[in-house]
């Protein structure tokens, strides 16, 4: 006869009576016997385990800690870009944009409209800095409360081809909150977090394959340390990369 189905073997392990034909097959067929034993091991494993354990989830701040450590690691490593596909990023981040207040979105979209105008004049093509890095794009950063210029953001290419967003701005520590750096698309639908700023200067690796040109808004926000990974909506500094 042909081999016994998993469904039948599972039934035997659960206590169902074997008929004479399947009993005889099991006695002769090593393969089916091995599969039958795998079900028996599983069943006795559950019986030996005693009570089923109710799994407990870690608090949300654990994920926040992992995320910020992973970001730091990517920022520190020279070859840390890891081929993140843009589509996956968008699908996992886009929903966050929808939670923003309408006012914020309107403001950002209006700012983004400037890109086609004066933005074009900001383009610095192939400029090689003293550190051997090539600058692809840059933008002045504006303090959103005063509109004063408070530094600059630029996209550099390192010698190994890694692209980094370099941020130089006035850093002020905020109690119980972190300063997070984002790149946002001009439709203000998609964004990625690049990590946290902890001094006047920060360098953030842009994932390989990520089309940074589609995300020209550099945004710096205050994020309460509350474990919520979404953009708080409280932006302090912004600039638009001229591409």
């Amino acid at each position: 006869m042909s081999h016994l189905d998993d469904d039948v073997l599972a039934g035997f392990a659960a206590g169902q009576q074997r008929g004479p034909i399947s009993g005889e097959h099991l006695a002769q067929c090593a393969e089916c016997r091995e599969r039958a034993e795998s079900f028996e091991r599983l069943v006795s494993g559950m019986a030996d385990a005693g009570e089923r354990v109710t799994l407990e989830s870690p608090p949300e701040h654990v994920w926040q800690g992992i995320r910020s450590e992973v970001m730091t690691f990517e920022g520190e490593s020279s070859g840390g870009a890891s081929g993140m596909p843009e589509v996956a990023l968008l699908s996992s981040r886009r929903r966050k944009a929808r939670t923003w207040s309408a006012g914020w979105v309107a403001g950002a979209a209006a700012t983004a409209g400037v890109v086609g105008g004066i933005g074009a004049t900001m383009w610095i093509s192939g400029l090689v800095s003293s550190t051997g890095e090539t600058t692809l794009a840059s933008a002045p950063l504006a303090d959103l409360s005063t509109e004063a210029t408070v530094g600059q953001a630029q996209v550099d290419v390192r010698d190994d081809g890694t692209r980094v967003l370099v941020v130089d701005t006035d850093y002020h520590q905020v109690n119980d909150a972190s300063i997070e750096v984002w790149m946002i698309d001009s439709a203000v639908e998609g964004m990625i977090s690049l990590g946290y700023l902890s001094s006047d200067h920060g360098e953030f690796v842009i994932p390989a394959g990520f089309d940074y040109a589609a995300y020209p808004i550099v945004d710096i926000s205050i994020e309460p340390n509350d474990g919520n990974p979404q953009h708080s909506g409280v932006s302090i500094t912004r600039g638009i990369l001229g591409l």
Binding site: D6, A14, G50, R52, L55, P58, W63, V70, S92
Partner: protein, 184 residues
Amino acid sequence: MVLGAAHDPLATIDEAFARGDEAALELLYRDVSALVFTLAKRALGTDMDAEDVTQQTFVSAWKGRDGYDPERGPVRAWVVGIARRRIADALAARSRDVRVATKAASEAFVAEVGGREMDRVLLSYEVESLGDPQATVVSMAFFDGHTHEDIAERLDMPLGTVKSHIRRGLVVLRNRWEAWDVAS
């Protein structure tokens, strides 16, 4: 590949993780963080130590992802292997603090998490992953030792339905259960 659009995100998570897709790390975390945290808490006793181990485990997994080979088994099993070593490290560090024989203590623990306690938590995780009503039916039949008739009566479910949930649940569990042996 669009992870979010896949029918079963876990079917693609192994490959995506190996490739360095950050979205895969988040999916993996949502899938197995409760398993890692529960193992750590049962071994170490405090929330704080379990949180540390959970964080270290996922950060190590991400940094060390070049060492993960999807051919050898699911990434969740690989991550639990890392968690076991982190738990052993934490216990060893604790033993050093109180000047107990470190090696003996950590070896005793590794044996313990490798045995019944480990199986109990892993099986609970897998049964939970079945989703209800299968999870409840399988749990009543095998963890609690209820008869099929008893389960049918308590859940107000036809006996044939109970039996088929049990058979189908066992087939899924067996397939997933064997993956733990491969990678851990």
